[in-house]
Symmetry: C2
Subunit: 399 residues, 2 copies
């Protein structure tokens, strides 16, 4: 049985697209692969290039009807694209629940940009009462980063697990898979997948070259395997929904291409945008720590980073009072909107900012206060998580 | 630390060499990869092409000196080539023992051509008191054979394990690794290896192409991993000797190339020739069952196959009496020599045959009798092996 969307693997490795900057006629190049996101991203163009579908009002209405609550990240179009999310909702409506599957490449510490889709995943789990597989691709991150030792990756893996548990996923319905630790559960499925994918295909999907190491070339089926694991766990074809940033899409295109031939459902996806960096130079990234808020940052660090953030404000207070700020281009505004403001608060903030009745310092102060308060609680949950790791580890048994 | 021989990975994928047929001026092409052996093989040429060394009288003397017994397969030059076997012997002489490592790709039932190197491996284990890792590459055989299901490979794996145990390896010093079953022990090492090998290198060593599936491309480090596992098991750099047919050499060339960079000894090898098929059309092969004697063949089947075998005899009894037979080109003679005849018996047989005092029927009768007797005992050992599987399975603990 198959899902509605038929997609084939197109020649879109190393997708480089011309992104239109809404405030100018300049076109800037962007590059999106699972390992690299560069430049300004035109998300509408991505939907077209990747062959996905936009999240439409119909879908929001359906979600509202089914679970009585539409997450702000859906309303705000932060989760903006999907494959077969409508099919997943129809299945759910007919009493066939789905597994959630998402993941993390443990190449560094976790920042706000990482946890945003995880908070959304928790909403999905809570509302749809779904089981969740959370994969840590420690193998991939070791293989990709030529200079990283496995010991370093292992240490990030441990730290990242604390963050995942701290999100508050339901311990009874969530299992964490660490590739090198749980490879015995993934490997047979990965071989079934790998047998159906040629180097040629993999080259065009991921942009692999002759100088790519064979570990990286062999890796993608390991990330695909959890798409089909729920069917093995449940003993029947089981729908899977993947909430993740759009850069991971090449994996799912590849996986969807083999699903039919293996007798499984194609995994469905719901794709998020990237959280802007505090200086708006691109997505928030572990490699630019000054522009990202990490879950382990101390209050002084948060104050310093927020204080140095780019805003949509005018150069002077007088101009701000006169012309108003550009809230919609302001990372501080969006941080508050995505993480802390209610819908009503955010609308008020927008009106006040654009009307010149709010200064950047006030928004920064709000963001710093909220972030510090959030991090303090999050760190406490990270501490508690240290005793919960075993409970969350995948063990091959039904969830 | 490194062994003496420095070899780099040369451009010798899909080695196709001109083999000289000793009785004619015709040159016939042969092809040798880990997955395919075709045509007549010129073993001297292989040593040159692969960059290995011949087994010399010096080495035989050293073996004699160290363990007081030189195996017939060494004397007969069936094990004809090596890398660093001399280094292994020197290590042993200085009280540093080595691990043996060999393997089997479970793509079919086991025949005499398979067990010959295993019998030699048992000799090495017995004489040198060595520990042995025996790998079954069920993943490779599943990935390579497009039409085989994993269930089929799994069933061959089980049958092959019975054969391996039936050889009589020391249960206390031998562990069997089944890739899909023990992948958690191999995977971290395999990633360390894979990270150091590009597609380009792997393409030239194994002849992979753009239409090779990514499972096959990612596989070789899994076969390399047991070369370094003994160092992890023992907690110190540990020499490893691989007795195996020469077609597996590409794996070891690749492994040797990364060993230094990973801080391990380069694995040493001792290479065997291939057992000829009963019709001498090439090496004994599971894909031509009528020309191979399987360990599970019943007496009638053995009689039938041996009776139909090609020999070095003359077309008529009268001519045989007059001209004598060509024992050295007779597969029946070599089967008897490799498996059943003592050195003295074999010399007598040679003289009688070449002198016209032995008819092919007599040799065939001897071979059938010996083979049936061997198989009856071997099958009994295979039956007993069914209760010994767990004892032989690798468990990550020191041997």
């Amino acid at each position: 049985m198959s899902s509605e969307v038929d997609d084939d693997i197109s020649n879109d490795s190393d997708v480089i697209i011309k992104g239109s900057d809404s405030n100018s006629d300049n076109f800037k190049e962007s590059k999106i692969t699972p390992w690299e996101v560069q430049g300004e991203i035109n998300y509408d163009k991505l939907i077209e290039t990747f062959g996905t579908k936009p999240i439409t009002p119909d879908i929001l209405q359906k979600v509202q009807k089914l679970v009585g609550d539409v997450h702000p990240l859906l309303k705000l179009n932060y989760f903006f694209s999907h494959r077969d999310f409508d099919w997943i909702l129809n299945k759910y409506e007919r009493n066939e629940n789905f597994y959630l599957y998402t993941g993390r490449g443990p190449s560094g510490m976790v920042h706000m940009g990482h946890i945003l889709p995880w908070l959304f995943t928790k909403y999905l789990q809570d509302k749809f009462n779904s089981k969740l597989l959370f994969q840590l691709t420690d193998d991939e991150k070791f293989l990709y980063n030529q200079d990283r030792t496995f010991q370093e990756i292992k240490s990030f893996t441990y730290e990242n697990i604390l963050d995942i548990i701290a999100i508050g996923f339901d311990a009874k319905r969530t299992k964490i898979i660490v590739d090198t630790k749980h490879i015995q559960y993934l490997y047979p499925l990965a071989n079934e997948i790998a047998k159906r994918i040629t180097f040629s295909t993999s080259k065009s999907v991921f942009g692999f070259t002759h100088s790519t190491n064979i570990g990286m070339i062999g890796f993608p089926p390991i990330q695909s395997a959890p798409c089909f694991l729920p069917s093995l766990i449940e003993g029947k074809p089981t729908p899977v929904l993947i909430p993740a940033a759009i850069d991971q899409d090449p994996y799912w295109r590849m996986t969807r291409d083999v699903a039919d031939r293996m007798g499984y459902y194609k995994p469905a996806q719901i794709h998020s945008k990237f959280l802007p960096a505090l200086d708006t130079s691109g997505k928030m990234s572990s490699s630019k720590p000054q522009n990202a808020l990490f879950t382990t940052d101390d209050p002084e660090t948060i104050d310093r980073k927020v204080s140095a953030a780019f805003t949509g404000g005018q150069p002077t207070v007088a101009l701000q009072r006169e012309l108003g700020g550009n809230a919609l281009e302001c990372p501080v505004y969006w941080y508050l909107r995505y993480f802390f403001d209610s819908e009503v608060q955010s609308e008020e903030r927008l009106i006040k900012c654009e009307g010149g009745n709010l200064l950047c310092g006030e928004c920064k102060s709000d963001l710093a206060t909220e972030s510090k308060s959030f991090m303090i609680k999050f760190k406490q949950r990270r501490e508690k998580a240290k005793d919960m790791i075993q409970e969350f580890m995948y063990d091959g048994k039904p969830l």
